[in-house]
Subunit: 145 residues, 2 copies
DNA sequence: CTACTTTAATCAGAGGCTCTGACTATCTGT
DNA sequence: ACAGATAGTCAGAGCCTCTGATTAAAGTAG
């Protein structure tokens, strides 16, 4: 794809993967060792009041069948629960359950820690530029606004 | 993981995924429709003189069994070939084959096109800042130098 | 030169992730 | 009331990745 000056796509992927590994290592060390990246990509999108399976699938850019498969596992492991959607009898809301709620602050802490490391390396100024540029870039690269 | 101000990890992932989709769409449209992201992650790392399976596996951060599986498929599809390593009879070099060589300039063109779109949106100045910051960030997030 | 250790690659088996296609139940709009 | 759209599931297939064991060749020490 590129050689000498790594393409920006790859450059974006490298720190992303580093962040992801750190979060998963920390979660596993804290006993959340049944928890896969694929499950996390769905779990992450669950809104405060719960989300419908179809919405989770769209946002994670997978089919609803795949999302259903992953939610099944998250449910079995106690991270989420499914409740009827009061506004639509066809639908069910996927909500964060007790065990999932415990994992969230832990993950958030690791994210904050890694971001702090990056800020130390880049300097606060460049770190905040990075955030600003990525937010602007999101305008044309995020299909889900 | 985060809510209001998206965490930087996620912000990095959004444009990466956009870039990847664009490249795969273009390859598929040009007849390279048997070519998966997993295969690409290995293919991408093949050096100009060919690379050993073990090195490809390390750089792609997968096991050598997985790398072997993917190289098998790339070989069957004509993207790569395996030749004996003249310096070590245990090893074989995975090299880009004819069909693979044809796909490379196409992928490079799409990468350039997407980068140009991003530069238009961000402005040349911020695009070049992005590249610089990511390159610096790579120093502490890339296990392979 | 021989024995031990390491390295490159493969084989075998298992499980996880994602997809397409088909189906049921419910809602929406006319 | 009916046709079409939407939420979710079931069934089946294929792809990706892993752990553990194995073969062959290299490197190393005595």
């Amino acid at each position: 794809m590129a050689e000498a000056p790594l393409n920006v796509g790859l450059l974006l992927h490298i720190p992303y993967r580093a962040m992801e590994s750190r979060v998963f290592q920390a979660l596993a060390a804290a006993g959340f060792d049944d928890f896969t990246p694929a499950q996390a990509r769905v779990f992450q999108r669950i809104g405060p009041e719960g989300s419908r399976l179809t919405d989770l699938a769209e946002q994670a850019q997978i089919t609803k069948q795949s999302a259903g498969f992953l939610v099944d596992q998250l449910e079995r492991a106690g991270y989420v629960e499914r409740v009827p959607d009061p506004t639509d009898a066809r639908a069910r809301l996927v909500r964060v359950a007790e065990r999932g709620a415990k994992a969230i602050p832990l993950a958030a802490a690791v994210v904050a820690e890694v971001e702090a490391e990056w800020a130390r390396h880049l300097g606060e100024r460049r770190m905040s530029q990075l955030r600003g540029i990525l937010t602007q870039l999101r305008e044309i690269t995020d299909p889900w606004q």
